[in-house]
Subunit: 363 residues, 2 copies
DNA sequence: CCGATTTTGGAAAGCCCTTTCCAAGATAAG
DNA sequence: CTTATCTTGGAAAGGGCTTTCCAAAATCGG
């Protein structure tokens, strides 16, 4: 009966050069005149050695047939996969693509297969993807991006990640340390606080904040951190000048509009929770003929490489995005510590540039 | 003997809530008191129906055990996978991440598993990845990015893609139509030509071109297209003013430096082969105190969303990046035409903005 | 109430590999 | 020339799922 199978497969591969489909290891073994076992040993070169003769014959058969091992089958047989799932909110957002870049570079060097999901924010989509990764028996999953304040969803996501871990997968997070797994933790609050202080030192006093979406913890961390930083200099912010909006160019544009609608006088300085928002705000200000930094200062957060050349150069808080991705990849590759998840804090570095330069005390 | 297996698996899952690992369909079947077959039928709900009773019992068992089907095993059994591989040159480059964004959005909606490789350009890396996808028995592979003039590598890549196709996978390309597969073809030459004409119409006469890497066909297409467009107005470009450089911010910066080193007079207008290069060039010009567009005009190509707000707004050629990704994804999902590969040309739209505004004829 | 259909459940063969476990040949030691 | 020790190749039992093929049970018309 096995013969039947051989015959079938064999004939399939003998359809000639027109059809490389479905060449199996058995075909290779037949062609080389060795047993399936031997062929397997040659290809997955384990500890057992096979005689030179046969090795050569097998390799030759492989070439002639254009055989490629079926990695899925191998994964099933060995119970190991080398797939790692990566979840980001939006891959076309430079924040995430920068992180993904570093991540993928390291992962590929380690011969990991990176699968990417770009699930418009929300723990629901993330949960689904983690579930998918569990079904794929992925080796690891890396969840990137801010958590929200939706406790129920968070619990679900944690549950799914728990199941994933229990089934033998590694989980790593880049963002708030809320998932109970190894985490690369950007210090949003501390970075924003430092920025707040720095701006206060520069002499700014009246601030507006374009704060990102309500409920998004990264937005919240940056806002409260910023306010704390200002508070250290006894500067407070008019609540009406704290405007929420999407973490996007348009979000920044609109939030800036809202601030402008508050009327004069303009704030001394506007803090946008991300560089991307800052760029939107900048566009809005320009449309109004308001000069930066002469009429109003503007600061962002992230220091996206793509936006380092906007004019005027943006004051911001630098996050080593690419490196954070690399770190996450490495975390996946090293053994988890037995007791508790590792948390790697990543400090942000305040970078003062022209966009917040105080106008000369002329007036 | 089957009993042995059952017993083993069973005990595994009975390790209790501490270990969800390795719950197999057999475990579910046992727990529900049905046969493996029935359990399978319930879960993969094919055409055959199972009685309400048993369906319920099985689902209950699934929940209790926290079972998730092993998709790898399923793929092996059915011979079908829903993985699609995507190869880009650099995912952190907004050009690629924009395309990937559109692509992933459509693909995920179709429940495809997207695997991404960010192989610093070069057909070699691409070939490897296509080979990997063949080994994974991926459903499709999408190769994104410019081809080079390296004939040997190209042939190898074609060969690999051929093998992939023959083994039943679909292949799609975004870039030059050189792979013999369905292709989304950005009309680089035509777009650049139109841009050249438009700039000539605006009155620019002395040009410099920051042309991207030698050997990269997209760079070449854009250059020759641009020159053709100028030629239509009998404008020619001093060969020394055609400078090659990487498709990157720094590449643009350096290329611009080279142009500046040529000494005065400055060209009327500089064409950078990509927006990203244009931004680098802009930074270089600014560093020199040269104003755009007053002292020199500057145009890019791509119209990257991320860079729409640079100042001054860049004249460029818009490519619907996101849509191109979507189209590629859809091409993967539709049946290939039997006779010859489909080629979908994507025209670029010239967008004139301030960066190439001719200074008033004041002088 | 009986033969003819239609459900519905299960045994077993496959999918394509890997990995014991065994046995036969080759080599070393005595 | 034995006996003990490696090498080296193969049969067969998995790994976790799908699916064909059968048979038992349930439904139906007359």
């Amino acid at each position: 009966m096995t013969d039947v199978r051989r015959a079938v497969s064999g004939s399939a591969s003998q359809r000639g050069n027109g059809d490389t489909a479905r060449v199996t290891l058995q075909d290779v073994a037949d062609r080389a005149g060795v047993s399936l076992t031997t062929a397997s040993r040659v290809l997955s070169d384990g500890p057992r050695r096979v005689g030179r003769q046969l090795v050569h014959r097998v390799n030759q058969a492989v070439d002639e047939l254009g055989y490629t091992a079926n990695l899925q089958a191998r994964a099933v047989a060995t119970g190991q996969s080398n797939m790692v799932g990566v979840v980001v909110h939006d891959i076309s957002d430079p924040y995430f693509s920068s992180i993904a870049g570093g991540l993928i570079e390291v992962a590929e060097r380690q011969r990991l297969l990176v699968c990417l999901s770009s699930t418009a924010a929300g723990e629901a989509g993330e949960r689904q993807y983690v579930a998918l990764m569990r079904a794929q028996r992925a080796r690891a999953v890396i969840v990137i991006g801010s958590r929200t304040d939706d406790q129920a969803r968070l619990a679900e996501l944690r549950g799914e990640i728990g199941a994933f871990s229990r089934s033998g997968g590694r989980a790593v997070c880049i963002g708030q340390d809320l998932l109970g797994v190894d985490t690369i933790l950007p210090e949003n609050a501390a970075g924003a606080e430092a920025l707040g202080r720095a701006l206060a030192v520069q002499g700014h006093r009246r601030f507006a904040v374009l704060a990102g979406p309500r409920g998004l913890l990264t937005a919240r961390d940056r806002l409260t951190g910023f306010l704390d930083g200002l508070a250290a200099w006894s500067v407070s912010v008019d609540p009406r000048c704290i405007v929420h909006g999407a973490f996007s160019r348009d979000g920044g544009y609109e939030a800036m509009s809202t601030v402008l609608a508050l009327g004069r006088p303009l704030p001394d300085c506007v803090f946008a929770a991300t560089d991307v928002m800052a760029v939107g705000a900048l566009a809005r200000l320009r449309a109004e003929g308001i000069r930066v930094p002469d009429d109003v200062g503007l600061a962002g957060f992230d220091d996206l490489p793509t936006l380092r050349d906007v004019y005027p150069p943006l004051t911001t808080v630098r996050l080593p995005l690419g490196q954070m991705g690399e770190m996450a990849a490495r975390l996946v590759l090293t053994e988890p510590s037995a007791d508790r998840p590792r948390v790697v804090p990543v400090p942000g570095e305040v970078i003062l540039r022209d966009s917040t330069l105080r106008p000369p005390p002329a007036r």
